[in-house]
Symmetry: C2
Subunit: 160 residues, 2 copies
């Protein structure tokens, strides 16, 4: 039996380092959630990284994606700025994640707040609004696309 | 009984016109699909508009999102460049769509090819590769976010 052609390679150190850089430098990401009709839903989000470089979101309870994640924690985060020229020539990564809300009484909240404000100073305008909360995205696996023909699969170990 | 607060308004003419402009001017979009594990999957795509301004993608059969759409045509397309400053201050729209592949023998294919190349000249490098195909995204409904506190719902009539 002939194996079907798989254009996706296992991660190497370059792929793992590209993943770290994309997460460290991103100004925004796109979140995919499942909406109330079972449809996939793409929306813009801002995130920061906690002390072990796990991404976390600041979102409003009034937003569609927050309602979706409270119903179904499965999501993915696409990171990578399409920049200039052909958008498909730039590196980007899709990280499959499980979302969990962070309790406002959690002792880490002050650190998360500081880390978020450091990356997104403009969020000072709304970070303390009562409808806003932090949601942690535990990373399960990822697909890195380093440009045409450079596709890598990252597993849980590659993401730690 | 008190209705729960809904921050989302019905579309007005400004919302409908913003939707058209976002689709006409976009260099790229983010597609949300359902992957083989049932997870939502976000990925970067390029698209153009056909003669009735319905978006269509140029994708490779080797790409994850193409495989997902062939299994489950439900998807959404996020459009709107986050630009400079706070990414959340810029207008963007999530359009819930149903995907359908366009048969290469369809007589419209030459027009679609011309329209796609006009918007994405760099795609000339791969548009004729045998693994590439066009996928039409029929728009069902949409959520327009015009910046903080400016959220609109667009139904099928608003999208025609």
């Amino acid at each position: 039996m002939v194996e079907p052609f798989d254009p996706v390679q296992s991660a190497n150190e370059t792929a793992r380092e590209t993943r770290r850089q994309l997460l460290r430098e991103a100004r925004f990401g796109t979140l995919a959630t499942i909406n109330e009709n079972g449809y996939p839903f793409a929306s813009l989000v801002t995130f920061a990284l906690d002390r072990v470089e796990t991404p976390f979101l600041l979102v409003s309870r009034l937003s569609g994606h927050t309602k979706h994640l409270l119903m179904d924690p499965r999501c993915s985060l696409l990171v990578g700025d399409p920049g200039k020229g052909d958008p498909l020539a730039h590196a980007r990564i899709t990280i499959q994640c499980t979302a969990s809300t962070i309790d406002p009484s959690n002792e880490d909240i002050i650190i998360l707040r500081t880390l978020f404000l450091a990356r997104h100073p403009k969020s000072a305008l709304y970070i303390d609004f009562p409808d806003f909360l932090f949601i942690k995205l535990t990373m399960m696996e990822a697909s890195l696309n380093g440009g045409f023909g450079k596709a890598f699969r990252l597993n849980g170990d590659d993401l730690r």
